[in-house]
Point group: C2
Chain length 329, copies 2
Amino acid sequence: MKAGNGTRLFVNEVATRDGFQMESRFIPTDDKIALIDRLSGLGYAKIEVTSFTSAKAIPALRDGEEVMNRIARRPGLVYTALVPNLRGAERALESRIDEFNIVMSVSETHNLANLRMTREQSFAQLAGVIALAKKAGVPVNVSLSCVFGCPMEGEVPLATVQGWIDRFAALEVQGITLCDTTGMAYPTQVREVCESVLASHQAQEWTAHFHNTRGMGLVNTVAAVEAGIRRLDMSLGGIGGCPYAPGATGNVATEDVVHMLQCMGYDTGMHLEGLIAAAAELEALVRHELPAQVSRAGHRLTRHAPPPDFDDIVIRARERGQAHKELQS
Amino acid sequence: MKAGNGTRLFVNEVATRDGFQMESRFIPTDDKIALIDRLSGLGYAKIEVTSFTSAKAIPALRDGEEVMNRIARRPGLVYTALVPNLRGAERALESRIDEFNIVMSVSETHNLANLRMTREQSFAQLAGVIALAKKAGVPVNVSLSCVFGCPMEGEVPLATVQGWIDRFAALEVQGITLCDTTGMAYPTQVREVCESVLASHQAQEWTAHFHNTRGMGLVNTVAAVEAGIRRLDMSLGGIGGCPYAPGATGNVATEDVVHMLQCMGYDTGMHLEGLIAAAAELEALVRHELPAQVSRAGHRLTRHAPPPDFDDIVIRARERGQAHKELQS
């Protein structure tokens, strides 16, 4: 595994969208705003603030406009949101978001299950959203679900993935996110897929999005970065998940990924201690234990006190050493 | 990240020692034996059955002799146990174990806290155990704790690690295990340490032992294998931990590591479905949720059913497509 050597990586936070939409408790609007404002100071390149889906479909994010309008925007930081259709795009433009994040699945079954449309129907709808964004001068990122496998169909051929990438690249989207929606990716596959698709289009910004469902979120992140990915989606505390994969844990945890990448010598631009503090606040908001590990265990160099009887142990060990020497003499 | 290309790796199970010694509930002797007999059929190279520590120090493993004597030994599989001192070595020999696993820490503070001796005192005691094993013709593996850092001292210099390795190599131990006792290792460090120490002594068999405390257990495993490590300690279900690092989770989970390595094309010799079934039995024994992920989420290609209303979704999507075509014509 190669050392980071200061390579700059860019971190996108998705907890406030991908995470909050899975929480059973509605997170109060003021709390969402306070959390996002706090996160804005921690070094992120991008924060996915909310989703302009219908309030009926995702009640957890029904306050999208208010959140977008009341957060304190930090210059240079991209505040994005999920935009599912033209109605959502109009709401997003009214809220002056910096980027549209549009979503479809490269798996027909998953797209039908998740978006209730065929992939062709989704693509047609999203092409309309892209046209509107272009007119308004707002960049578009497309997040492709199930790039590394579908929980219902199994393997998704690389040619299928590449086909949808080509079609979105032809519409001149600014960014493409390769999503491992239910944690099916493994490192050698990640390397192969990322190397292949990154070589196919140079005009797009590429992002990887991993879930830790089978424990491989961090190792897949390293594989993606080694394959040339420089932008990574992560979720504070590791919140989020997928309703179509029972037992699936959430997105890779921001604090776990940042900690690892910093240890390896990558420049993430992130404030790790600030993340750990923000994760504690998030845990209080969602009212359940977070799957993230570094917020519990601390930085690898966190010092722990020796046991309370340590001085006695040392004294007794020295005495044994002395007795041993006396026996030998 | 390189593909495995069928490279043979060897799996050591430590749940029945490193794991059970941390459980608050005493696992009944019959249950231990039944579990080990089951594990013996799953492809392991080695199983660390128990510890011949005093019953007072580790009551959870006070039945070491009975377990060793009653398990059904599979030819070729190495049944090892932790042997702390000469008294333990005599018990281990009576139980006809295939290998002694001896332990000390490369960190003075951790050795004192954990073993209540200075490192020199531990080394002197273990040299006696090695001499006894040599006389009895039993191979010895030394597990060195805190190779990748000490929770109380912080970084442990590679020269310190190398110094203790040299001293044990001089005593002609057959194997050396590099233990990341509290999950402080990170991938580029693992590569550096493993490459360096493996190059220093060719006569020994090398093993790596990772904990998942900060989520890096799997990525560190890949780093170790890429650096030439072929033997890996893991714990079914991810049970185990370290009393001196609060919040520390357990060893890397056998099913998670095996699943990843198999996906990457390594030959582990292991029966993954059997592991997942054994983990369910283990969970019933320890009576708490296990940290392992693959036993919950299943193999990456496990198929999940689409939502119950999937047929209706498809019909409605087709109708919308038809309506759209009629509107256009």
